[in-house]
Amino acid sequence: MTSISPEDQRGPAGPQGNAHLLDGVTGADHRVAILAEARGLRILPADPQAAAPQCPLLWPWNRVYRPASAGEDMVFAMLDAQDARLTPDLPEQAHAIRQQATGDEREAGHQVFGLRRRPSAALAIGATVAVLILVLISLAPLSGMAAHLLPAGTGGVSSDQVIRSLVATHKRCTGEDGDRALTDLSRRLADAGDIPTPLITVIDWKLVNAFALPGGRVVLTSGLIKQSEDGSEIAAVMAHEFAHVIHRDPMTGWIRREGVSLVLAVLFGQEAAGSIASTLTGTLLDATYTRDQEDRADHTALDLLRANGIRSDGGQAFFVRLQAQEAGGSLGSLLSLIDTHPGAADRAALFGGAKTGTGPGLDAGQTAAVKQMCR
């Protein structure tokens, strides 16, 4: 019987001792003696009468490794018999083997899609992040193309539902003369942009805002109208929103946000830890894309005003007032990162410097009629 007592641990050939061997062919236990030789780890069946292990009995040092699947245990495997497992009885023997073993587990197992089965996590993660960043960058032009492939009225029904829910909480502003004035201006701007005339809705909301929805819907708030000092301000804002309709920005934004959500879902999974980071990343990305859209809409708006001979300083006045409400200093710089619009000062300068015409867009009577709509 080839058994070595634990007391007799070290001989001229190196550490020796007893071990437990699973040969990876059957589930049988094999009690073995192990001997560290210059060439490798020699395995000697402890009981010559018992069935011999069905795996190589000399494990060259450059083929021996400690598999990651061993977890916290000191277990060894061999590249030429990857299912076999050797567990030394004593920790000292295990440490001695570990010091001499130079096998690389990454050479074990099948390749996965041409890759090693165990590439470093950093490599895989780095490559994926690069691909995902590429996808995120290409999402903006792709979503724009997709939006232009859809019919112009697509999303109109959904937008009407949104408007109905807004009207349920904020009264719809109406007035025969005011409606007529806005419709007239809308038609002129739409003709210049070569689009069907968008449907305008005015709602009673103190918030100074205007926005375009998919399907050619534009919403103006009473807060914005009341704050306007003359018709050219309303015309400039409407021209800006019509520019969004021309470029299909609402639909583009919708498709892009869905795409960004999908990609971020891949990045973050369902981990709770990722949700804050995911939201922040999504907001930053969306803000970047949206700022570009707003900048383009401003330039198109100036074209629409120019085509109708409407002066642009109304837009300048509007943005100067808006600038006064923006946060300044370092806080302002920080907030500008997540701001969806370019800075009001830049926009005021753009509208101030453009020579688009001298007309007011809405004359004094029309402006008064529009302002009367929400009283």
């Binding site: 062919v25 049988a28 009981d47 069935a51 977890g71 916290e72």
Partner: protein
């Protein structure tokens, strides 16, 4: 290999008596090392914007599998992070992305804006969409089981589910359609039908799995639970109006709030308990009627103990914001070790290594990506 000696394929010495019972033990390596590793993993996941999770899960499985001992021998998890990761990417490209595009189109309401589409046609589209989603979830679960079993070894012998994914697709489609079109009434039939297919395809070291039970055995329990849920809803409605009456008379918001809180917890516990009745009945039936070679399994958990386990784990996760998740994993494993009993153990020398399941290299799809248990 000139330098290696190899012994002949003589039969190995039996070292475990036939028909022996085997215990499942959880070798206590300490909870703190697990929690510490989990905290490191969470930090790395944040740094790598979530992508490290595939490797994190692998590391945790490697540690925990090794601590689970069956018949005195530890389990071993040989899966890798890259396999799960690539499996996820595959599912993303071929399933999530197409599904996402369909979802976007549906969300756009294109068919709703088509004047030719009527209400029933839209409902049919929605129903088919639901069936497809459920089928994909079902497939995800199957891929997860197949992968985990193929990457789990005991005594160096790996397991295997010998059912190609393409074949299981038929099972998944049938299961999803049955669940949706029966309004979830046939869920227990589907659960047992699925168990029959999976257990029947099991091969552990040459020992084949068989499920000898029927598929209808849990329908009565399921209907009773539905009736229980109905009665609970009626009871809640009665108590609600009674409480409003008291609050109007007494005018005490604090009393009202306390009763609502404690009542809500009681209803939650009762709901959980009723569902646990079903889960326990399911596992009891599957274990009783399943064998793997000569191995028999028995499950003796109760609905009360399962409810305590589930409720306790939810509390731990909620209160620790998920940072103590390893504690819940250990609780699950200890529960399994205490309530699953195995008898008829085969001679380990008779277990023969089955071929590596190459088809599982593609990982486990979606279902197993985030759940260790």
């Amino acid at each position: 290999m000139a330098d290696t000696d190899s012994a002949g394929p003589a039969p190995a010495r039996p070292d475990t008596p036939k028909s022996a019972n085997a215990r499942i033990d959880y070798a206590e390596g300490g909870t703190w090392p697990l929690v510490r590793r989990h905290l490191i993993n969470v930090a790395l996941m944040i740094v790598t914007i979530g992508l490290y999770r595939f490797w994190a899960i692998t590391i945790m499985r490697q540690i925990i599998w090794r601590r689970v001992r069956f018949g005195g021998q530890p389990l071993e998890y040989t899966g890798t992070g890259i396999e799960i990761f690539l499996g996820f990417i595959r599912v993303f490209l071929f399933i999530l992305l197409p599904l996402g595009i369909i979802f976007v189109l549906v969300e756009l309401g294109l068919e709703r804006e088509m004047p030719t589409a009527n209400g029933s046609a839209i409902e049919l589209v929605d129903l088919v969409y639901l069936v497809v989603v459920l089928m994909l979830i079902e497939m995800g679960r199957f891929l997860s089981w197949r992968y985990r079993i193929s990457r789990t070894r005991w005594r160096g012998i790996r397991g295997r589910i010998e059912l190609p994914a393409s074949n299981y697709l038929i099972v998944a489609a049938g299961a999803a359609a049955m669940i949706v079109f029966s309004g979830w009434l046939l869920k227990p039939v589907v659960d047992l039908y699925r168990a029959k297919n999976v257990v029947g395809a099991l091969n552990i070291g040459g020992l084949k799995g068989i499920y000898r039970g029927g598929a209808w055995g849990l329908l009565g329990t399921w209907i009773a639970i539905w009736i229980g849920y109905g009665l609970l809803a009626i009871g809640c409605a009665v108590v609600w109006f009674w409480l409003i009456g008291i609050a109007m008379v007494a005018g005490s918001d604090t009393f009202f709030g306390l009763v609502i809180l404690s009542g809500g917890l009681a209803v939650f516990w009762l709901s959980l308990y009723m569902f646990s009745v079903y889960r326990v009945a399911f596992w009891h039936l599957v274990c009783t009627f399943s064998t793997v070679g000569p191995v028999r399994i028995r499950f003796d958990g109760s609905a009360a103990s399962l409810t305590r386990l589930t409720f306790g784990n939810w509390l731990i996760l909620a209160l620790s914001l998920g940072l103590l998740a390893p504690v819940t994993w250990e609780r699950k494993i200890r529960y399994m070790a205490a309530h699953v009993h195995v008898s008829g153990m085969p001679d380990p020398a008779e277990l023969r290594q089955v071929g590596d399941d190459d088809s599982a290299i593609g990982g486990e799809g979606l279902a197993g990506d985030f759940d260790l248990a």
